[in-house]
Structure formats: C-alpha cells, structure tokens
C-alpha cells in the first residue's frame, strides 16, 4: 500500500507528463498545418509532370534507344530501397509501420535470392532497420538540420540515387514513405521509381506533337527530374504524415494521462479518508475504554 506522499508524488509526475504531451500535440498541430499546405502545394507539379511524362512515353516504343531510367537495365537482381522516415520519435506507429513495410519487402527479395541495398532517409528508420539489415544499409541521409523541406533536399537525394544507378549499383529502386490521407490516416506506401512507372493516357496520344529539342533528349532530361519530383513529393507527404501521426499519438497520450490522474486522485482521496476514519475510531474506542 503506497503512502499518501507516494501517491501525491505520482500524481504530480503524471501531471507534468500530461503537460508535455499536451504541448507536443499543439506544436504538432501547428506544424501539421504548414506541412499539409506544403504537401498540397506540391501536388499540382507532380500531377502535371506525370501527365506530361505519360504523353511523352505513350509515343515512344521501348527499344535499345530508350533511356534506362524508363526501360530499366533489363535485370532485376539488385534492389535499392529508399526508406524515408522521421528524424524524431514519439509519433505513434509512424516510423515502425514504414520500416515494417520495407522490412517485409526486403525479406521477400532476400528469400528470392536478390541483393538488397538500403538508403535510409531519417534517423528513426535507420535505427529500426540497422538491427536486421545492418550490412545492407549503404547510406544514412540526415535531414535533422532541415527545418522546412525544400526542392533542394529532394534533388540532393535524387542526385545520389542517379549517381548509383549510372554506376550500375542497382537495377530497381523502390521508395518507401507514408502517404498523407488525413490526420488520423497515414498509409505506408511502396513506390517503384526506377524504372519509372508511367500511366500512359491513351486519350491524348493521337495528337501529333512537335518536339524541341529531340524527343529522346527531352525524355532524357525529363526522367531524372521526374525522379527528383517523386522523391520531393514523398518527403513532403512524409513530413505531413509525421506531424499528423504525432498529433494523434500525443492526443491519446494526453487523454491517457488524464485518466491516470483521475484514478490516482481517487485512490489518494480514499486512503486519506480511510486514515482519518482509522484515527477517529482509535480516539473513540480509547475514550470508551475509560
């Protein structure tokens, strides 16, 4: 049976924790709004890019001339997984669900006898994956010093990936991130980015396009840029998802702390009353004995 003082201390500590979680929830809510507008502002570019690329690709037949970013290397032996997670924890299952998706994917590939290489963007995913795939991780990209994700970060990662691709380090690249659907729903997603997945729209392909410079040349510059855009978009979606996940996790934590305080206060009051009653009984029975 804890003493009254113990109970008092316990209540005070839970209250302090509740204050922290409450503050974190509010900070996450403010950051979420910013991250969400950024993610939504970036959507049109990515969508138009997909349309333009679709138009272009539908007019091209895959041959030896086709850029390798579109056609692939012809093999699928070495897989690169780019796992985007957060730099900080305390955001519910956000990091672990992305890492789990990546881990399942990696395990399946390894079981098929493929080679797996992993690039981690964000410390948390690295921490989780290191235990099992330590020797597969080739790089950790740290975005901790970045406050607002800009196009430069997407470009930096894309350049690294392109460098590896050109050096023949891998055949297929898959991007792992969390798609932001709403504050309470973030969907861990795996997206193949090399070779590029293009939805061809049959509707507009009948128009005769003029190209300046040559078709192939445009495609050759468009494909790396598409990669950058996809990565940039994933980073933004991820940032919004992270804040959303943190907000709901901290909301839960605040509620739990509230319940705990209620219960503890009740126990505290009960044992205080029990103590008073006990003392009264002692006094009365003492007086009666005289």
């Amino acid at each position: 049976m804890p003493s009254l003082k113990d109970l008092r201390n316990r209540i005070a500590s839970v209250k302090a924790t509740q204050k922290i979680t409450k503050a974190m929830q509010m900070v996450a809510a403010a950051k979420l709004r910013r991250a969400q507008t950024a993610a939504e502002a970036a959507r049109p570019y990515a969508e138009r890019m997909a349309v333009v690329l679709g138009n272009l690709a539908s007019g091209i037949t895959v041959g030896p001339e086709t850029p390798r970013l579109l056609a692939g290397t012809g093999a699928d032996q070495v897989h690169l997984l780019i796992v985007c997670t957060a730099e900080r924890g305390l955001c519910g299952a956000f990091n672990s669900s992305i890492a789990r998706l990546a881990r399942d994917h990696a395990n399946r590939l390894l079981a098929e006898g493929k080679t797996v290489k992993i690039i981690c963007v964000g410390k948390k995913g690295h921490d989780i994956l290191r235990r099992q795939f330590g020797q597969h991780i080739i790089e950790l990209i740290d975005l901790r010093s970045v406050r607002q994700i800009g196009f430069e970060q997407g470009d930096m990662i894309a350049q690294k990936v392109l460098g590896l691709f050109e050096a023949g380090e891998f055949d297929v690249a898959t991007l792992f991130y969390s798609r932001f659907r709403s504050v309470i729903a973030q969907i861990p997603t795996a997206q193949q980015i090399i070779p590029a997945q293009i939805e061809t729209t049959g509707a507009s392909s009948d128009a005769v396009y003029e190209y300046e410079p040559e078709e192939g040349e445009i495609l050759a510059t468009l494909l790396p840029r598409n990669l950058t855009v996809q990565i940039f978009r994933a980073l933004l979606e991820n940032a919004a998802s992270e804040q959303g996940a943190r907000m709901s996790a901290m909301d839960n934590a605040t509620r739990n702390a509230g319940e705990m305080i209620k219960k503890q206060t009740q126990t505290y009051n009960r044992s205080r009353q029990a103590m008073i009653t006990k003392e009264l009984i002692e006094i009365i029975s003492g007086a009666e004995a005289l």
């Binding site: 950024a38 349309v51 333009v52 997407g154 396009y209 190209y211 445009i218």
Partner: protein, 133 residues
C-alpha cells in the same frame, strides 16, 4: 484576341493559372511566343524571363530556371524547376542564383552542361543588370 489556358507550376506552388493572350517562353532553342491555337508541342526551357500577357500592353515577367513547356489542345503548361516572379526578385536572390549557377558550372566536365550553366549565368547577370536600371 483569343485567349488560351496557361498554367505556370513550380515544385513548391502554382504561380499562375488562368486565361492569357500570349506567353513568351525562353525555350532552349530560342525564345518563342505562344498564342492561342498553337500546334501541340513540347520543349525544354533555359534560364530566362517568361512574359505573360493577359491583356495587350500589360506583361508580367517571371524568371524561370530550367523546366518544360507542354502545349496541347487544352492550353499551355509550364513546369519550371525554379520560378521567381519579377516583383519578388531582389539583388540578394539573384546573387545567390548566380553563385549556384557558377558552382554548377565548376562542378561538371560535360561540355553540354557547361554550356547550359554558362548561358544561365549570362541570363542571370542580364536580369541583375535589368533590375539595377
């Protein structure tokens, strides 16, 4: 004058969307003007000013650095890698852009990329001179 739909999109935001009379594009093989009813065309862009005319004698200028223009029956879509409206341009921003272009110039050995960076630097210097009057 017949108008057509024009959209200017940069990775961070949509800069312009609406009906316009004419748009001058800094296409990689020479500046070109797009009017309504232009044949379907796709071109890459170099660094330079894009001029949007929504009614005669009234142009809005936007500095773009690289990107694509897609002209089809639905109108013109410009995907700019970087886009800065002339109103937002300042000396410092241009200096930073020039520095970046110079770094890109120093970083490559590919003659085509070197040439692209060189013309970007020239364009940016020109823009800077234009700002100073």
């Amino acid at each position: 004058m017949a108008t057509f739909n024009f959209e200017l999109v940069s990775p961070e935001r949509v800069l312009f969307s609406g009906a316009v009379d004419a748009v001058v594009l800094p296409a990689s093989e020479g500046d070109m003007t797009v009017l309504s009813g232009h044949a379907p065309m796709m071109t890459t862009l170099k660094t330079g000013f894009l001029v949007i005319t929504s009614n005669p004698g009234n142009g809005r200028r936007v500095l773009v650095r690289g990107g694509f223009a897609d002209i089809n029956q639905n109108g013109l879509t410009v995907l700019a890698e970087r886009a800065l409206p002339a109103e937002e341009l300042t000396q410092e921003i241009l200096d930073k852009e020039i520095l970046q272009a110079e770094m890109a110039y120093d970083a490559t050995n590919d003659p085509a990329a070197k040439h692209a960076a060189e013309s970007a630097i020239a364009q940016l210097r020109e823009a800077k001179a234009a700002l100073n009057y």
